[in-house]
Symmetry: C2
Subunit: 644 residues, 2 copies
């Protein structure tokens, strides 16, 4: 297999545009806000746990057993920011986080405040529930990011020390535990660490954890027996199932996504990583089968995953209800992580298409435009009254929250946005593959030469992208541009002062432009971006007779604030013209879709049921990007609109 | 207020037809089957509890605290059967039930096996949860029915003894408890007892319980404090709310139905009874406001009530989801009880319309055609796969069960069907009001004269009813025939050998035919019964863009066994002709509706989302009466069909 390499974040920087605005928000608003919350003993208590474990203060551990991971993910996000732009405030906060983690770490490398505070004798006795290796994985990811951003090895050394501690405890050797974590994460972190420090033991340990999962007799049964427990209980007081943590069968036998969606994504990431690193064709096939199942049978139009609140889980094929959807933000973030890894395994635009879908829709909806309020779930239909009164919708909060008891999503959003530029390109031996269109600069090493690539674009509002290629000296290679699945018509123009000749061919969803590139050669790509009515596979019952509006990568929705209440009553005639217009004053500047729709005329005292047909009236509806919903107070929202 | 009196069951009998078939099923199959189950210590244990409490065997109480009520409701049903037809088998079983109840009853009148077995010192200490007065109420109802059927006073005396025991314990006097039961039932039972034995103290006690409800400080708080409890917990581990048992405010301040739907129905029954007996205009207004709210804002098309599984409860106006509906069978039975009482308060066909709707649809769906399998919930859409995998649909069982841990519904069905003839007529000073069309005979006393009335009809399959009037001697009165809300066109012919002149006028939904009636005078009523497409108020989101098929009082549904899977994909064109035909070989003989509908054509490997419109094909659909669904194995079911 030829290597398909991602671009390192340090080789990139943003240019003014959609994503730089959000990057700056992360740097200037979100990181300071989240750090404040993490430091607040009343809200998060996460930093307080570190201080207690470091002996700097007294008190008891508070929060979820995995509370440390909130700080680690925050530190990882801060490190990505620092990799792109120095910032004294972010540096100062990061250094404090680093200082605390290092002080907390035990002599043997162990690092988990829950067990350090509550008694180390209990460590490694409940892998199923306690997230110990999950917490370790997030620290390792943060350490790598911090090292890459600052060049400072001390946290990376601490991560290796922790990984060594884990390796002394777990593994195939007789005296070691044959366990794995209930929540995957350590596996992908160990592969990352292997790639960073080139120590193959970490790769082997990652493989061990992945291969051990789901083997019988079940490790979790064994450790529960040792704890003297009879009946394992799972989420919401239900019975624990191995499906919940993807340990129902060994991973090589898995073909359908089951269980907790975030756990699934993190596991699949590691599986894809291992398939790449080990050239493991069988594991690659499993990844592809799972990819097909997830994206063709269990994914919301917005890139949301996990349609059931119970277990925050996948259910079964085509079960994607709109108003009871769970679709945790972290699951969609995990989907992006996984898609990115699949691109290194099998360079095909279908992975980048899904990456883009999740990014611009469910993921981005996870935070308010101000950056300091968050959704945990990403439903496709919201009726606030039902969320208030119906127990089966109590997980759907109709407005974003300042924080959560289980606060995985907010720092996950920070680290994704701060590191977005690493998702833009892949490099192969003969070309540069463009997955995302983002105003940015990247310094790419290809055929041992340096090439700068600039993108200028108003994406996702407009489909035109100007790509300037600046090889250090003239160089022949493929510049491959993803033609998104949503794009039915595109135009490409190559401009060059020196030589305009080029060959273009479609390869796996990418338009590959092969030429001898001179400095300042230019490609103008226009992806025609009309408003599309999207229809679901008829097997997806929740969308029967409905269309969703999409323009470019953006899914749109109706909001009560623009359209009045009772959105399920709205009908979009097949023949209605749909217009898209940029409104710079709305929601920080968004494209708005409008057109003629119909809705019921009401009369006083209408009966509940009647054989009379109800009269309709026309009105002009207004749809806004899904990601921006819920920024103007609580109200109804609807993605799938009835069509007649 | 002029008296509006129901007909006593003893004045009636069935003739061959739809309901006599079901009555015979109750007598010959259901009562023996249910008695067997009640006697089975492994399944119900209810009779076993009686035997233990009677000292005939040893063991501990098993089942719900209200397990006794299953036997009481069964005995009530058996008594209704005996009121109409002698049957040695039913008599034998009933006598055994009676013998046990009498033996269990304590010297002071107390009668509840849970507390007799577990310790009488705990009685009356947890009215909120333990259903003590609820159990008492059901025994009283059974006793009255048994007395009326057999003339045997001993059980009625026991009921009075129990009521006296309750009256010594509860009441406005200083030394008595100011409590009421978490589950209403005693109130309506005490009114019944008052009517039977004419002891006004029972009426006053019923009034006390009703008026006390919801007063502050809350009795349930007080008794919880005395038990030393801190936090009251309600259903499914949620926090207990006073709404759950309609004690959030005093009943006179209630205008919207809230909480547990069965509790609400039983309470409203007592309120209507009291309004009638006391001529209480204010209470009558409350009943009417609640009636409007329930039937115009919170009732399923099938007469189902309580759209939330959590708390088996009402939620809020127009929240009537199809696939997560709870709509307990007992709630619809309670709705019939309430409607019947409203007819004595305010003689208007709207109450009988709802009575008929609930009876022929949700209630009757509660049991299999064989009579020995039962539904607890009555959803309007079922996807068995989702019931299996989705926690939020775990209350929806896609096939009827032989019994339940909480077995309130099966004996409730028995007592309703066995006593159905008491719902057919009301008598006023100047007429006979016909609410239901059932092949039957009734001996009615009007103006101190006896009149026999015969109905012959194939209702609900056909809308023609032949009513023969047989006054002992010629007599002038109104024969009032309900013109159902579903009926847009009807014909009436009066035949008489003596005198054909009559005056007809519509009064409150009834066609009142005034004439001097001679023996063997005849009315031929034809209610034209086309297939109707029913539409919901647009505020009912779950039915937006959909129609339900109704013919006469019957709501129809699609079943997978007739139409294949994926029913939400089925579309009914507006112009489709709908045909109704009786199929004597299907489901014991039912009318079937058929017509042209459309559904998606499938292609291999279709994407989950696409901008392409999906092609449809025509097919001939087949709809069966909702009550008969689920008698041919597990499969999908759908009431509200998409219309284009």
């Amino acid at each position: 297999m030829n290597a398909i390499l991602p671009v390192d974040l340090s080789q990139t920087c943003f240019q003014e545009g959609f994503w730089y605005r959000r990057f700056k928000l992360v740097k200037e608003v979100i990181l300071p806000y989240q750090w404040r919350v993490l430091n607040d003993p009343e809200i998060s208590h996460a930093v307080q746990n570190l201080k207690i474990a470091a002996g700097e203060t007294t008190g008891s551990f508070k929060g979820r057993p995995f509370q440390d991971s909130d700080v680690a993910k925050w530190l990882e996000a801060a490190s990505y920011v620092l990799a792109l732009e120095r910032d004294p405030k972010v540096e100062e906060m990061s250094n404090e986080a680093v200082r605390l983690f290092l002080k907390v770490q035990r002599e043997d490398g162990y690092l988990d405040t829950y067990f350090i505070i509550n008694g180390l004798e209990k460590r490694w006795t409940n892998l199923r529930d306690m997230h110990e290796l999950y917490v370790a994985g997030h620290f390792i990811e943060a350490a790598i990011a911090y090292f890459k951003a600052t060049g400072d090895r001390k946290v990376l050394d601490a991560a290796c020390k922790l990984a060594n501690c884990i390796e002394r405890t777990f593994g195939p050797e007789n005296e070691k535990l044959k366990g794995y974590d209930g929540h995957p994460e350590i596996e992908l972190a160990l592969v990352k660490l292997y790639r960073c420090v080139k120590n193959e033991r970490y790769l082997h340990l990652a493989r061990f954890f992945v291969e051990e999962r789901g083997k019988k007799p079940h490790f979790f049964d064994e450790e529960a027996r040792l704890r003297g427990e009879e009946e394992p209980y799972g989420p919401w007081g239900g019975k624990f199932t191995y499906e919940y943590c993807q340990a129902h069968v060994p991973v090589r036998e898995q073909r359908k996504a089951v269980g907790h969606a975030v756990r699934a994504m993190y596991l699949y990431c590691a599986m894809a990583d291992l398939a790449v690193e080990l050239g493991d064709r069988e594991l690659a096939d499993v990844c592809q089968a799972l990819w097909k199942n997830v994206t063709q049978c269990q994914m919301y139009l917005t890139g949301g995953l996990g349609s059931s609140a119970f277990g925050e889980a996948f259910t079964f094929d085509y079960d994607l209800p709109n108003d009871t959807a769970y679709a945790e933000v972290c699951a969609s973030i995990g989907l992006i992580f996984w898609a990115h890894r699949m691109l290194s395994l099998d360079l095909h635009s279908k992975y980048a298409d899904v990456m883009e879908r999740a990014l611009y829709n469910s993921v981005l909806s996870g935070m308010s435009l101000k950056g300091t309020e968050y959704f945990y779930t990403t439903p496709l239909e919201v009726w606030p009254e039902a969320c208030k009164h119906r127990y089966d919708r109590k997980h759907i909060l109709p407005s974003r929250q300042r924080w959560f008891t289980c606060a995985c999503c907010p720092p996950n959003l920070s680290r994704l946005i701060a590191s977005l530029l690493q998702y833009v390109y892949s490099i192969t031996s003969d070309g540069i593959w463009t997955h995302l269109y983002v105003s940015s600069k990247a310094e790419i090493k290809l055929l041992n030469r340096n090439i700068n690539i600039y993108q200028e674009t108003s994406y996702p509002w407009e489909g035109s992208v100007k790509i300037t290629v600046e090889p250090f000296e003239p160089l022949e290679f493929n510049l491959c541009l993803r033609i998104p699945e949503w794009c039915k018509q595109y135009k490409v123009e190559v401009e060059s002062d020196k030589d305009k000749t080029y060959r273009a061919e479609m390869r796996q969803g990418y338009l590959c432009i092969k030429k001898l590139w001179y400095p300042n050669d230019l490609v103008r790509l226009v992806l025609v971006m009309p408003v599309e009515r999207i229809r679901a596979n008829p097997l997806l019952r929740a969308a029967a007779g409905r269309v969703a509006l999409q323009r470019g990568p953006l899914v749109f929705c109706l909001e009560e604030v623009d359209n009045g209440p009772l959105l399920p009553d709205v009908v979009l005639p097949k023949e209605s013209c749909l217009e898209a217009e940029f409104d710079k004053d709305l929601l920080g500047g968004v494209v708005v879709i409008s057109g003629e729709a119909k809705r019921s005329i009401f009369f006083p005292d209408e009966p509940l049921y009647t054989s009379e047909a109800h009269p309709f009236r026309s009105f002009r509806f207004k749809a806004v990007p899904y990601f921006a919903w819920g920024n103007r107070g609580s109200g109804e929202m609807l993605v799938w609109i009835r069509e007649v």
